[in-house]
Symmetry: C2
Subunit: 501 residues, 2 copies
């Protein structure tokens, strides 16, 4: 079935395997930079990562690669389905990468790193003016990149940026999704807040919650989910993330000894990401078709675990006695009802990463509207703080009193990531739709989770999502997995049941 | 003064800077593999490192690089001393690398990794037969590499291997050095043992010595030496080492809670390595001339700190009260005399890494003789265990009762490093000669060390050794730094004073 090694396709596999291996090296170096690296080597590390990136870029941009892609196109009849999909993904990556010349790639990478560092200082001081010049440079290069990609991909500049994170998804899709959410969510929030206020108030467990005990519970739950510590680690970093490689999953969290709730849910969220990587088709390791299908599908896997499963009555029933044993305290605190109240609280908040699942999409809609205007040039960066505050008022009904809790809160733009935010909400929609489909395919899933057994759920996810890698584009993967095209229905049904039912 | 960026020389600098940056990435990945990596990703990590290595190799082996080296030769008159030295080092590296084709480089790297893994299982079982096939393959490829390099360098095969670790040093030099040492050391050992037996016996401090307290003392001493934790870390690994990059020094140790003495001295030894890297000429970072001058000079820097300085009366006078404070116990244990007895004990031992500085060279001489015979083909690998035991009897007067404590004890051969062992002893000679020269240039050095002040010593080392990078070859560097060619005299004088005086 496999194409010959010295066919054009076979030679492309060799090339992409090498780039995949370099990408793994970069993944570990990035993890190290966030967890282990002393501050004094930040510049050297930037250089190391930039060098790995530009070596990969040069491999892709070499004239020979274009020739091989052409020649492999004529071999299609000798390829099986996976190989055809792999070739399609190779082309997609090639188009994205070669739309930009090496100098622009390097300039963007350096501008983003430098802007990110300034932002780290500017954010706590709420000093938007300090980061404005660096951000302007990032935006200038981003617009240049977007224009170059748009021309090659036959897309609008914003769609071209977004295509990198959400392959096959377009702004027109988001316009539809976001219009419905912006229409429905404010009323649902009102309803949820009303119900929440008349219900008993949650009792906060009192700490301290030693980091060691938090870690012990976290690792217990990770192992239940299926995380194998022979092929991964759990460490601490300022901003929790899931990184590393499929055979060396590195997730991080942060322990607040006064409040265990976020650190624990963070571990479960990142474990969702990690297990997606772990479940990618092993026989396609280091090939494009063997990679995770974009940031939105990735987010669907973490949100499915965190929001759909681990904040559910089923999982909290299982978790309650373990939490009580780990942290001690009164029975009432550790009742499933109380834990549910803690873990499903709705509030109008300023900070996206603190937002509950109901208000979260509104935070994303704000950023989506603003970044489209920034990329199109309709919004001057100097006007960003004001536009942010206006948007917060319109969408969520509150206004930040400083840029620190306003437009400086997220790293993304300062790190050069435009077109990324929508993937969070697409992930939330997909998570709800996938979990509904999983339960309908195997009605035993919720009951198993009540006993701490995630195997039935992961059997479905593994078969329908993880093992599919990049065989399909994002909309097709979701449709194949769930039997229906992506819609907001499952997400809204989930919110209604959990918060208004 | 600097050659133009687009001169042939300037383009070589760009090329080597890139390779240097890849080398840094590999340094961090290697550190990670020894300290952090879960076992399940060992294969993937081998692939990552092999890929980085072969990308560097391809850059060097590209026809364009040979052309640039040729062309830069014609630009010599436009280059300053450092640039000329840099170009010489570029050529040296190029010759070493291009003597071997890519397939042989990759085959050696894979054979070594696989042999090392088998060795890790075979050593505890004392099972030489189990590792013999893999070692034979490593030796076969090593001999192939040695022959190819010998032809290019105009050296004997063994000299060609050694030249990689000890640039400019030849087996003829070692024959002379080792003949003298093999002649003199056995008698000195007799004398030292005799004196040691009639002196009061050392009192062993009684533990436990909590790892945390050992680490605290270790970091205190590291900081005294000049280690900056903003550009480095101290971690734990099975085999202590100094790795990372000049701006991100990663040293490791191992804490034995029953015996602090080795872990602590290990930290100081590795700090000596790390501070050499740190002191390399910053303006030549990532250029060949800015790198450390071979393994022997590296070892001279760790041995100077460990053997010459930190086991001396001066340093132990400073350390004693700190150790007492950290670990507690009777005054007699923490007297300088007692600590000196602990830290300058001579014994005939089977294991090189446990050997004292007087018997250590005899361990190296054994390995030197054996590896020369292996490379020349005079010793069949199946006969290695017997030859090892015979050599131990002749040189040190004891015989291992198993290969575990015999020819399986060291990783080097199993990891493909032939021609490396002599550098340990060259390092010890150079350390003694450098420390003598430093004290003669600045007689205040020992007194400063008594107060925990390493600045005068590091001022001399920085100026004479560290900042010189690869400006000279090894013999010339030692001669320039100390004012005399390398000899065993300073080393023997040091041993006489410390052990027989």
């Amino acid at each position: 079935m496999y194409a010959r090694v010295n066919s054009a396709y076979g030679r492309l596999e060799t090339l992409f395997r090498r780039m995949g291996t370099l990408g793994e090296a970069a993944g570990i170096l990035q993890w190290d930079a966030s967890t282990m690296m002393p501050t004094g080597s930040a510049d050297a590390r930037s250089d190391q990562l930039a060098t790995l990136k530009s070596i990969s870029h040069e491999m892709l941009a070499a004239p020979e690669t274009a020739e091989l892609l052409d020649a492999a196109g004529h071999e299609q009849t000798t390829l099986d389905d996976w190989q055809v999909a792999n070739l399609r993904e190779m082309r997609r990556i090639w188009v994205h990468e070669t739309a930009l010349d090496g100098a622009l790639v390097e300039a963007r990478s350096k501008a983003a790193m430098s802007c990110e560092m300034i932002w780290r200082e500017a954010r706590p001081k709420s000093d938007f003016a300090a980061v404005l010049p660096a951000l302007s440079e990032v935006v200038r290069l981003t617009r240049e990149a977007a224009a170059a990609k748009a021309a090659k991909l036959g897309l609008t500049p914003y769609d071209a940026l977004m295509d990198q994170f959400s392959p096959g998804v377009r702004a027109a899709d988001f316009d539809r999704i976001f219009a419905r959410l912006a229409d429905v969510l404010p009323g649902m929030i009102e309803g949820a807040l009303w119900r929440q206020n008349k219900d008993p108030q949650p009792i906060s467990p009192t700490g301290p919650f030693p980091a060691k005990a938090q870690r012990a519970v976290g690792t217990l739950f990770m192992e239940l989910l299926g995380f194998d510590f022979n092929s991964g680690r759990l460490d601490v970093s300022l901003h929790p993330f899931s990184g590393g490689t499929p055979d060396d999953l590195r997730i991080t969290t942060r322990y607040d000894e006064d409040d265990f709730t976020r650190g624990l849910m963070g571990i479960l969220h990142e474990t969702g990401h990690a297990l997606y990587e772990r479940g990618l088709p092993r026989e396609w390791r280091r090939q494009p078709v063997g990679e995770a299908r974009g940031m939105d599908v990735h987010e669907s896997q973490s949100l499915l675990i965190e929001m759909q499963v681990c904040r559910s009555f089923e999982f909290l029933s299982y978790a309650a006695p373990h939490l009580k044993e780990a942290f001690g305290g009164a029975d009432a605190v550790w009742s499933v009802d109380n834990l549910t109240r803690i873990y499903t609280r709705v509030s109008r908040s300023l900070i996206r990463v603190d937002a509950d699942e109901m208000t979260y999409p509104l935070h994303v809609i704000l950023r989506y509207r603003l970044e489209r205007a920034i990329v199109s040039g309709d919004l001057a960066l100097a006007d960003l703080p004001g536009a942010w505050n206006d948007g917060m008022r319109d969408l969520i009904g509150i206004v930040p009193d400083s840029d620190r809790t306003g437009c400086l809160q997220d790293i993304h733009w300062f790190d050069g990531a435009f077109g990324y935010f929508p993937s969070y909400t697409l992930g939330a929609m997909a998570a709800a739709q996938m979990y509904a489909a999983a339960k309908s395919a195997d009605p035993n899933i919720p009951a198993a989770i009540t006993t701490g057994d995630f195997k039935p759920l992961y059997a479905w996810l593994g078969a329908k999502v993880h093992s599919q890698g990049c065989r399909y584009d994002t909309p097709e993967l979701i449709a194949q997995a769930t039997g229906a095209p992506l819609s907001v229905d499952a997400f809204l049904t989930h919110l209604e049941r959990r918060y208004l039912g």
